[in-house]
Every structure is written in C-alpha cells, then in structure tokens.
Amino acid sequence: MKNKMIMQATDLSIVFGGLRAVDKFSFELYQNELVGLIGPNGAGKTTVFNMLTGIYTPTEGEIIYWDERSRVHSIGKKQPAVLNKVGIARTFQNIRLFNSLSVIDNVKIALHAHRKANIFDVLLRTKKFRSDEGIIEEKALQLLSLFKIADKKDELAKNLPYGEQRKLEIVRALAARPQVLFLDEPAAGMNPQETEELMELIAFIRKEFDLTILLIEHDMKLVMGICERLIVLDYGKIIARGLPEEIKKDPQVIKAYLGEEALEHVESE
C-alpha cells in the first residue's frame, strides 16, 4: 500500500514568450518517498521545481498540496514564503546562501517563523524578545552541530568551502522543519568522494527529519543509488517514469541522453 499523497500536479505547463518550457507535467508525490527528476540540460527540470515551490506561476494546470495536518493548499499563485510555512523547502542549483552573513545567521533566518516577540519587544529588548532569541539560537546551534558545522558558526557563509556551502543550504532548508524538501542538483560540482558523502547525508536527513524528497540530479550514480522512483524530462515533456532499473533500459531515455546511434548500439547488443 502506498503512503498518503502529499502533492499532486496535473497538466502543468509554462510558457515563456513563445517557448513552452514545460508541457503537461503531471506527477504525484507520496509521503516519505525519494523521487528523482532527471533529464538532459535544458529539459525544464528547474522550471518544474520553480513551479512546485511557487517561484513561477504555471500558465496552465494546477498543483495541490496536503500539509502535515492534511489541509489542502492550491499552490498556483502562492508566494514561496507562504509555501515554506506549510512545509515546502528547497535548495538551489547555484547555491544561494546569504553570503555576507554568518553561518548561524543563515540558519536563524530560516527560523524566522519561530519568533513570538513583536516589534515593540524587539525595540525595547523585553524578556519575550530575549527568550525568543535564546530559543532561536539554541535551535540553530542544534542543527549546525547535527551536521558538524557548529564550529564554523561565526564564519561568513561565503568563506565556507564549496561542499560545506551545499551542506549549509540543506541545513537552512531543514530549519523550517519541512514536510517535503526539493533538492536542485545537490551534487553539482562535487567530486565522487563528496557525492558519496552527500548520498549518506540525504539518506540521513530523510530518516532523521521524516522527509519526502524530490531531487534533480545529473550524477547517475547518485540517482540510481538512492532514488526509489524516477521521472525523466526532455524538452519539457515527461518521456519516462518508473523504477531506476526500468529507466536505465528505457529506449527513449537512452535516446534523449546519448542520441539515436547509441540506441541502435544498445539494441544490437
């Protein structure tokens, strides 16, 4: 039996000028799944992400989302900030940290919703404000030490090594305690060793935070290694979906990735 459905997209399309970047994208996401979204460059993967997280408004189609208390949300025109509050978090393909702020501040910003103090408490530094800050600080530190970067809490985000920047972005996304996490090419720019560690990290956060994960990735080893289900996009259309093993043998996928000749080569074997 499948778990509860938490997101359903039907016939999503988005048009930029004359270009149909994504065409009739439909999919369902069930609780605690780990789904991979793959496809060649320019296939529209990130555009799909941007629609699912509220950054782009789809031209056609609709997205329904069920939050942890099973309330229904229609994503369509909602701002990412609103979606973040009901449990949707994401990272970005080209890391988007708050560069000139400290590591701990990056995490504290994502804990923004935890404040109880109002503006007057803040201006006058009342007890409420101080207890707020204490709680936020503690939560941020807990998260950072869970990912073993607590010792770098006061460093500026931009001064972290690349791998840790990726990690920090994931930590920041997790700070909001999301139900579903969207990872946009988490292994981009990583060496095999780092990719290996990242796979472990993803498995770890999935268990620890009880997450549903949708990820975009180019690294086939990572995708085949951890994803339970794959969706393949090419030119904005879904060309295949299914288990990693099936996808590997799918002629259309091979064609999209390696070209017509490769397909003939595979078939003749």
Binding site: P80, N84, F92, V122, A173
Partner: protein, 335 residues
C-alpha cells in the same frame, strides 16, 4: 519589573558613554567654551548623521537604492512647522508626527514600487523628489512657495537661538535612533531584512515575505529621514523647497558609501568627518570643492566597501579589548 531587569551590566558602559557624549558638549557649549560656530557644525553633522543612517537603512541594510531621501527630510521639516504653528502641537510631538507623516508617504510610494524586483525604487524616488519640490514651491499658502518658510513658534526660536538646546535635542535623537535601530537589526526582523538584501529569492524560499520586509525597511528609513527634517527645520529656523533636491539626496548617499554600506558606525563617522571637513577647508575657498571628490576617489580605490564595510563599533568588544590592554600594561609594570 521588566525595567529593572532591562538594565543589566552590559548596558552600563554604553549608557555612560552616550550620556558623556550628550552632556559634556552641551555644558561646554552653554558656557561658550565651544563657540557657537563650532557648535553649529557639530549639530549639523548630527543631523547629517541621522540622514545618513536613514539612507543606510534603505540602501545598506535593505539593499534597495533610494535617490530621494532628502524629499522625506523636506516632508518632515515642513510637517514639523505646520504641526507646531498651525495646529499648535508642542515641538516634541510635532517632531514625532513629522516622522510618522514621512513614514506614511514612504508607505504610499513603496507599496506599488517595492513589489517589483530591481532598481525601480531608485527611479521612483528620484522622480518623487522633484515632485515634492514642485509641490512645495506651488502651494504658496501653506509652504510659502519658493521663498521658503520661517519657523517662528517660540519653542522653535528658542531652539534656533540656543546652540546648547539644539545640540542636546538633536544628539539625543541621534542616540535614540542608533540604539533603537541596533536593537531592531539584531532581531529576527532585522535578520529578515538582511536576508532580503542578500538574496531575495533565497529569502522568499526560506519563509521571509520579501515585499513585507522591503516595505518595513523603506518605512523605517522614511521615518528616520522625517525626524531628521523635523530637527533641521527648528535648527536652521528657515527652510526652502530646495531641501528636497536631488543633490541633497546624493550628498547623504555619499556619506553612506564612504562610511560603508550596512554600517551605522560608518555613516556617523563619515557624516561628522565630511561635514566638519567642508567647514575647516573654507580657507581653500573654491578649491575645497576639489578635496571632497578626491577623498571619494581615494576611498573607492583603496577601500571599495567604504571605511568600515559592514563592521560596527561594539561596546562589548571595546570593553574586552580595553581590559586586555590594561592587563598587559599591569603585567609589564609588575615585571
């Protein structure tokens, strides 16, 4: 109950320093140990510092370029005169209300503009400054037109004629603004504003309502500019529509760029240095106009982030450093 707790040990040192900076010069001015001319310069510098802080809040902290902060200053200045003379409000109240009216105008301008991403605020505030100038020139019955308006309420005259009064009130406002803004920026609201400056998309995806916090930053900046104007009016005693001009806004922006975008300390230091420099270089006559751009060019060449970057003066750190220094000295002496 809370009040007693609010004054913890950490606050004693900053409080003493602030009181010292506020009261000692006031006494010196009162007994003309500091002459009136010099007193005027430092008081004007304090107003410029308030304006630089206003520009810094929107440009350095919120990351939105505003080229019309002087027009909010003009609104504050005219409002304080109107409220005091036409409605008979006490000066203190009219200064605060002048700040609020500038904030309201900031809200009205920000609402349609800040929804957009990019430098639209710069264009709109640039145009807004010119509009305000034209309005002030043409509503002669209220604003006195191009000839300007004199502040003749007794309280204001007292303010204009007694340098110690104007110094005390203006520096008091400066200190309060700095303290409140520091409290604000080191809170989750402040961090939200910084997040918007750093990366709007990332902030939005992490639960920060980008539009809301851009508005907050702009409204606070407008409020501070309004207060600056409301203090300027009784200090000079006479205001003109040129107050809202583009040149003025740019002058304040220069203070901020020079002091460091995102550093209140930098803005204050730059405002005091440059304001007094303009006066002390008077002996160079028109050549002094050359010194100013030269300083700018050199700072931009060697310290592109401004004198202080985003760093702030911190009482806690200074205290620690002082203690460490004295310890060292003592150890040396014992040897």
């Amino acid at each position: 109950m809370q009040n007693t707790k609010m004054f913890n040990k950490k606050m004693i040192f900053p409080l003493l320093v602030s009181l010292f900076l506020l009261i000692i010069p006031t006494i010196l001015i009162k007994f003309t140990i500091i002459d009136e001319y010099f007193a005027q310069i430092i008081t004007l510098a304090a107003i410029n510092a308030i304006m630089a802080i206003s520009v810094n809040i929107i440009c350095g902290f919120t990351g939105q370029l505003s080229l019309g902060q002087a027009s909010f200053m003009a609104i504050g200045a005219y409002m304080s005169i109107l409220l005091t003379e036409n409605l008979g409000l006490p000066m203190g109240l009219s200064i605060i209300f002048a700040g609020f009216s500038a904030a309201l105008v900031g809200f009205l301008i920000g609402f349609p503009t800040l929804k957009l991403r990019g430098d639209y605020l710069a264009i709109v505030t640039l145009g807004f400054g010119e509009i305000i100038k034209v309005i002030l020139m043409n509503f002669k019955s209220i604003t006195g037109g191009a000839n300007g308006k004199r502040f003749v309420a007794p309280a204001a005259v007292n303010f204009t004629l007694n340098p110690e009064v104007s110094f005390f009130v203006i520096v008091f406002f400066l200190i309060v603004i700095i303290v409140l803004f520091q409290n604000f920026i080191r809170s989750s609201f402040g961090r939200a504003i910084l997040a918007v400056r750093e990366d709007e998309i990332a902030a939005n995806s992490n639960g920060i309502g980008v539009f809301k916090y851009k508005m907050t930053g702009f409204i606070i900046a407008s409020f501070v500019a309004g207060i600056g104007g409301a203090l300027y009016a009784p200090f000079i005693g006479f205001i003109k529509p040129e107050m809202a001009s583009f040149n003025r806004s740019i002058e304040y922006l220069i203070f901020v760029v020079l002091g460091g975008m995102g550093s209140i300390t930098g803005s204050v230091v730059a405002a005091f240095t440059l304001t007094s420099l303009q006066e002390f270089l008077r002996f160079l006559q028109d050549y002094r106009l050359l010194v100013y751009p030269l300083i700018l060019i050199f700072v931009m060449l060697y310290k592109p982030d401004g004198l202080l970057g985003t760093r702030e003066f911190s009482f806690v750190k200074t205290e620690k450093r002082l203690f460490a220094f004295f310890k060292k000295v003592r150890v040396k002496n014992e040897k």
